[in-house]
Amino acid sequence: MDQPKALPTNYVTQPDKIATSKGKTVRTEEMIINMGPQHPSTHGVLRLEIIVDGEIIVDAIPHIGYLHRCFEKHAEHMTNYQQVIPYADRMDYVASMNNDWAFALAIERMMKIEVPERVEYIRVIMAELQRIASHLVALGTYGIDAGAFTPFLYCFRDREEILDLFEMTCGARLLYNYIWVGGVSHDLPQGFIEQAKEFCTYFKPKIKEFNDLLTYNEIFIKRTAHVGVLPRDVAINYACSGPMLRGSGVHWDLRRDDPYSVYHKFEWEVQTGKGEVGTVGDCWDRHIVRVREMEQSVKIIEQALASIPEGNVQSAIPKRIRPEPGDIYVRTETPRGELGFYVISDGSGSPYRVKARGPAFVNLSVLPEISRGAMIADLTLIVGSVDIVLGEVDR
């Protein structure tokens, strides 16, 4: 192999580009770097325009829209409200069940439809299973961002068990179209409850295993503690939601604070970041909130499985859904935070206007605020801790 070439003897250093020991800092010109849209650590097609001074980020400007599929325009052109649900599936494709539910709930509230008790329980079980599956993707890929590959494989192994449960219920593994307006498409299949109970028993020790592998790993803590700190007031001003908001120490969860469905019947706690290893609101806090939410979700699922009532899985709704003219904004707590649908009806069979307020879209908008002053190497970790799904950011 060739030896690296030595510097030529007449090489002259550039005086304004090197540090001196007399208190002068390294002065370089600001440089613009493009990160993405094909960068592996941007979790999709996100382009970040980064202005750097040396290794320090002066500003990070997200450019989105690469995955724009005109969800809102499509929704206006459907001939039926139910037809919007498969499109809602494809927004946040890591947590489709929650999207279905949010849209169905908006129409149900608009038409004042009461769904049977069994449906509420099925929806809670599905949404919480989906929350675990989604958090597993977020946490596993976050490990990769930090350079730990193994936890990712463990996460996907466990997520597979949940996808099997979903496949058993509705035949699909990613995009379910399961939760419909007025109910769900099928009842739970035979053996579902037993298998779901088995999953809960299986999964609980896995959280500890995951924590030992990644969360309390010293290298991981050093990479994520004190990094990307999102102060509480900035989080609220930017309307962050989900683990992003709770990581900053705000006790806020729509399942408790803007109640829907039967969540009030179960015992569970809202998890917040406490700055255990760093500052409140840093990347590690957002990470640990997700881990602890999985524990809470298991708790909810176990209680729901134990007390699920018998009954119908579709309420009697008109075949053609025609809400009264009017508008409604309904928000639900998805794994990423507040997913809201603003629906306007003009009394016809298709929506007049649907606006989707995606949690990832809003959470991403705070990125410039929390990445200023960070190092380039930390930016991937900051983006990872926001847990964006570009399908929902771009809709």
Binding site: E72, K73, V234, I236, Y238, A239, I328, I344, V366
Partner: protein, 158 residues
């Protein structure tokens, strides 16, 4: 604070900027003058009795009668109350005050409303398209939108 109390507070303070309201519906709304949106929202956010610190959603709407609308869904974390504000502007001269100085989250929502409806938010720090390419023609969610024939030599309607 109930919607009626809120309406009284706003009417006594802003008078002519409060145009219309409907409080007997599921989600009560108050129509405000879009050109005074910022001061009204700033008051709602800062006043201790209202404290609307969390803007849930900001949407653009085309009412298909020559007007465009901006709908603000505000909520308060402290008092857990909500209110919907609506502002109207004409389609020919769609101007509305930006509230991104009040709530940081409005920045991207307003960019989206500009992108999809062409509403110009006065005072917005960085008003450019967000989801569509910068050189796209027209605003797709307007009801009278006609898609362009070609985009950079590629046929658009399929």
């Amino acid at each position: 604070m109930t919607a009626q109390e809120l309406l009284d507070t706003l009417s006594s303070r802003f008078g002519s900027a409060i145009l219309e309201s409907k409080l007997d519906v599921n989600q009560p709304w108050i129509k405000i003058d879009g050109n005074r949106a910022r001061e009204i929202c700033l008051f709602l956010r800062n006043e201790p009795s209202t404290r609307f610190d969390y803007l849930m959603c900001l949407s653009g709407v085309d009412y298909n009668d020559g007007t465009l609308g901006v709908v603000y869904h505000c909520s308060s974390m402290e008092h857990k109350h909500k209110i919907v504000l609506k502002a109207i502007c004409s389609k020919d001269n769609p101007h509305c005050q930006s509230v991104s100085a009040v709530w940081g989250t409005a920045n991207w929502h307003e960019r989206e409303a500009f992108d999809m409806f062409g509403i110009i938010f006065d005072g917005h720090p960085d008003l450019r398209r967000i989801l569509l390419p910068d050189d796209w023609e027209g605003h797709p969610l307007r009801k009278d939108y006609k898609v362009q024939e070609f985009y950079r030599g590629i046929r658009v309607p399929y």
